[in-house]
């Protein structure tokens, strides 16, 4: 089987207004940020964002008015940047709806989808107001242990979108360092889209198949975008570009436009 390689704009075009998208990475690390910016350029609206720890991605999407609903565990720019300002404003003004999770309850919902079951028990939550807020049911152990557990309904994103340093020519995806939540996202979603730094030889995957996070047959399409996780990091290739994040946070339309124009994929985006 050969992987389906498309341009970034074609990759973004697969996501429609109103779709739910699980975004890989965590905060400023290895997020599919080029794809996020391309969704903004294409004017997507009413997206449902599913991610345990989004930051720059959900903030930029909120800034562009692209978010209808957020299902998240913790949202921040991280580092020294604090709260994600446009996300915060979108929630406070009710421009976007929030389903507040603990990271592990979002994972539980994704696990239910990945495991093909309607609900997934999760540990903890004792005394938290989140179950009542979200209407999560508590189920007693039918086996008489006297214990129970809250169960989270299945969360099935329309797309899992992840950024990876390397794909094979067949679309196999390799990630180095932590996979963050990318593994469970790719198993829970209906379809998987990948933005990759580069195509690496098939032989390098065959030598260490244990590292492959997503086999190619599970991947719908790949766009190769060097630097695509900018202004975040992509281990082992590059670190966070903190000055760029700071410029992004300048609260003017011009600054946001300049930020989008300065992105590594901007040239291709103009072409596409």
């Amino acid at each position: 089987m050969t992987g389906t390689f498309v341009s970034l704009s074609e990759l973004a075009a697969r996501v429609k207004d109103g779709d739910s998208i699980a975004l890989g990475g965590s905060f400023l690390h290895r997020g599919p940020f080029a794809l996020v910016r391309e969704l903004i350029r294409q004017g997507r609206t009413d997206l449902e964002i599913i991610k345990q720890s989004p930051g720059y991605d959900i903030d930029a999407l909120c800034r562009a008015g692209a978010v209808g609903r957020a299902r998240t565990g913790i949202v921040a720019m991280e580092g020294n940047f604090g709260l994600a300002p446009y996300y915060r404003k979108a929630i406070e003004t009710k421009a976007a709806e929030l389903e507040e999770h603990a990271c592990a309850t979002l994972t539980a919902g994704l696990r239910a989808a990945a495991f093909g079951v309607p609900f997934q028990p999760v540990g903890g939550l004792d005394g938290s107001a989140l179950p009542e807020l979200n209407g999560w049911a508590r189920i007693d152990d039918p086996y008489g242990s006297g214990r129970g557990a809250y169960v989270i309904p299945a969360i099935t994103p329309d797309y899992a979108i992840i950024h990876a340093p390397e794909v094979s020519p067949n679309g196999d995806v390799r990630v180095l360092g932590t996979p963050h939540w990318d593994r469970i996202m790719t198993r829970a979603a209906k379809k998987v889209l990948v933005v990759a730094e580069r195509v690496a030889p098939l032989e390098s995957f065959q030598e260490r198949p244990e590292i492959t996070l997503v086999p190619g047959f599970m991947v719908d399409a790949v766009a190769v975008v060097p630097g695509g996780a900018w202004p975040g990091s992509c281990f082992p290739d590059y670190e966070i570009d903190y000055p760029a994040v700071e410029r992004y946070l300048t609260d003017t339309d011009e600054a946001f436009a300049a930020h989008l124009a300065a992105a590594p994929e901007a040239e291709e985006a103009v072409r596409g």
Binding site: F27, A76, I91, E100, T105, S128, P179
Partner: protein, 248 residues
């Protein structure tokens, strides 16, 4: 003359002091001070413990100290990647000894609000959310948190929202560190354990929004030479100290 004990150094050092031998200790996202505390404990204390973090690192040897507490550098020289699903499961099955978890508001029972200031449905300030808190606080053996501001806004009688609470085994946060005090849970509520030698019990009490038992409190033991040296090595030019916006 004794070097002054800065609020920043006080926070990091006293967070580190919650680390115990042979235990598994975790630091997560948005947690620069606990990250520094774990790294300080590795350098300053003469005992072994397992440090795992949200970057997947297990007892890593980072070549630098990152601004982001989830930076990939925190997995350098790690012999394993112990990723998110793994460390959450470790916690919920009862094998996590110590978790550092963030908080905006903390109440006297050691519960936390990281969700919203004001009504959750019509918030004055939408906060980041609790991340691991609601699941980890009840299931970790002990959890600790920190605030860079010690005030009746942060240490409150009544939370605006209960993001995370204690489980069947314990009542909430085991330890809380602020720039001027250390609280430890007595099984029922947070009690004052010690206060910064430059302040007083009265000041701590007056700046704390919940009623607090001070009967067993004592001045915080000053930093040891090893603790000072470790923090100096971790933050040689004071960048973290400057970046930490402390209201003390």
């Amino acid at each position: 003359m004794v070097e002054p004990w800065s609020p920043f150094a006080y926070l990091v050092t006293n967070l580190a002091r919650f680390v115990r031998p042979r235990e598994v200790t975790f630091s997560g996202v948005n947690s620069s001070l606990p990250m520094l505390a774990c790294m300080l404990a590795k350098r300053a204390y003469d005992f072994a413990f397992t440090y795992i973090n949200v970057a997947g690192g297990v007892d890593p040897e980072p070549s630098s100290v990152p601004i982001s507490s989830s930076d990939p550098v925190l997995a350098e020289k790690s012999a394993a990647i112990f990723a998110n699903e793994d460390f959450y499961d470790l916690c919920t099955r009862g094998r996590m000894d110590l978790c550092f978890l963030g908080a905006a508001q903390i109440d006297g029972r050691g519960r936390t609000n990281v969700s919203a200031i004001g009504d959750w449905h019509d918030p004055k300030v939408r906060l980041p959310g609790g991340g691991g808190g609601a699941v980890m606080l009840p299931t970790a053996r002990r959890s600790c948190t920190w605030r860079t501001e010690h005030s009746t806004r942060t240490l409150v009688e009544t939370l605006d929202f209960v993001t995370a609470s204690g489980g069947p085994a314990h009542g909430g946060m085991y330890g809380v560190v602020t720039p001027i005090a250390v609280f430890v849970h007595d099984g029922d509520r947070l009690a004052l354990d010690s206060w910064h030698p430059d302040t007083t019990v009265d000041e701590v009490v007056s700046r704390t929004g919940f009623a607090v038992d001070t009967s067993r409190a004592h001045p915080t033991a000053p930093p040891t030479d090893a603790e000072r040296a470790a923090l100096r090595a971790l933050d040689p030019d004071g960048a973290f100290e400057r970046d930490t916006k402390i209201r003390s």
